[in-house]
Symmetry: none
Subunit: 227 residues, 2 copies
DNA sequence: GGGCGGATATAAAGATTTTGTAAAGAACCT
DNA sequence: AGGTTCTTTACAAAATCTTTATATCCGCCC
């Protein structure tokens, strides 16, 4: 498991939040909280937690609706905590994208174990040894990039950036996300780095750096690798 | 979901097996059975089921030990069914590689839902869910729009607008509502923006922009996507 | 049918924001 | 020290947003 997973807890009962904060932090999970649905959506979107614990009984909106809204973009585990224990409620929540469902009162040891299961199942279970895109090959293990067989000399930052984009080829990665992954949280505002390094990468791997086909700009959003 | 998943049920009680056979086959799961641990290991190794339902109380060996032995090579979901419901048993099983744990007696609808969750989580999530309308696909998560497979280059505002309309396909959205959602509250009167951007979108995604079939004008009210 | 008025469509010019590029300075290795 | 890599700066280039202008459509009244 990665160090320190961030868990968002969406629950209006202060006792539950207190309890979860204590029991989860004992297992080195970072916790943060939202007291209602609106806050929950915002918190999830801004912090991108590794897992969400969601109470179905929220003051401002139906928990199931919140689940659906979250699942429009949030792909990591969501575990439901609820007093409702009818079969209908449980089946509904699970079918709408919840990964697990515990009825309150729950046993905190069991919750922790189920959190571990959810995180485990969501983990990358693929170490891609190498990626190929036309005449470009990226060897993830040895950190070597070749263009039509010839080794392209990249600095380690350049490699991280290229590898990140290539691993997610076809999807748009936001500036923030790239900066976070490659440089770390302290660099979320250094979008100029990105421009400089993207330009350098283009010079090294694009046939025509002025007309990139691999490293595509999505203006106002971020970058995308390939199609 | 793929067609016909094969589920191995390891349980010594004949009534449970009967019950599971009936309820699972109603959902088009193929079932096959083992009455004890030894049979279970063999059946799993020979048939490579897509999922295993495992009772912890087996006549010939401890269910937990069987779980551990299975997990030495078996990577697909294992769901525990057991009368034991102490926290210790549950945590133990989950930590030893079980994906879920239901205590007997269980509700069969819930079991089915949890089976679906387990299968879903094990599936490749390479292809993210995307909205499809004829030859147009809108991938909300990856922020990519394709027309007959080719990526359509949209600005982020154009994408937000299209995504909003597509998410509500078939419904008429008022000018006000669209402006509020895409541009924010300060722009409720800029209906001209809408005209400009709708026209741009039509040029990009309609076969014949002058005769739109996707982005429909509802004169005096707003716009509607499709149907 | 013709004309009027409100609403919509489209192109294109201007303004603004975002991105690309080169290059100089700082920091970081051996 | 010498070379490499990272960081910063400055300016050019491109993309996007906003505004304006003009054309088109459509229902309605006479």
């Amino acid at each position: 498991m990665k160090e320190n997973m961030n868990i968002l807890i969406i629950d209006d009962e202060v006792q539950i939040r207190r309890l979860l904060e204590i029991s989860l932090s004992a297992y080195e999970f970072n916790t943060f909280f939202a007291e209602n649905g609106k806050q929950g959506l915002v918190a999830a979107a801004t912090h991108h937690p590794d897992l969400i614990l969601l109470d179905l009984g929220l003051p401002d909106m139906d928990g199931l609706e919140l689940l659906v809204r979250l699942r429009e973009w949030y792909t990591k585990p969501i575990i439901i905590l609820s007093v409702r224990n009818s079969e209908e409620d449980i089946v509904n929540a699970l079918d709408k994208g919840a990964n697990d469902y515990l009825t309150k009162p729950f046993r905190s040891g069991e919750l922790i174990a189920r959190i571990r299961v959810a995180i485990r199942s969501g983990e990358e279970r693929k170490d891609t040894p190498s990626l190929e895109f036309g005449d470009l090959s990226i060897d993830m293990i040895n950190h070597v990039v070749r263009k039509s067989g010839d080794i392209v000399k990249l600095t380690s930052t350049e490699f991280s950036l290229l590898a990140l984009l290539a691993k997610n080829s076809g999807r748009v990665l936001t500036h923030q996300f790239i900066l976070k992954e490659v440089w770390g949280y302290g660099y979320l505002e250094q979008t100029q780095y990105l421009r400089v390094f993207i330009a350098q990468l283009r010079k090294k791997i694009e046939d025509n750096p002025a007309n990139p086909v691999l490293l595509i700009t999505e203006s106002g959003i971020g970058y995308r690798f390939g199609n």
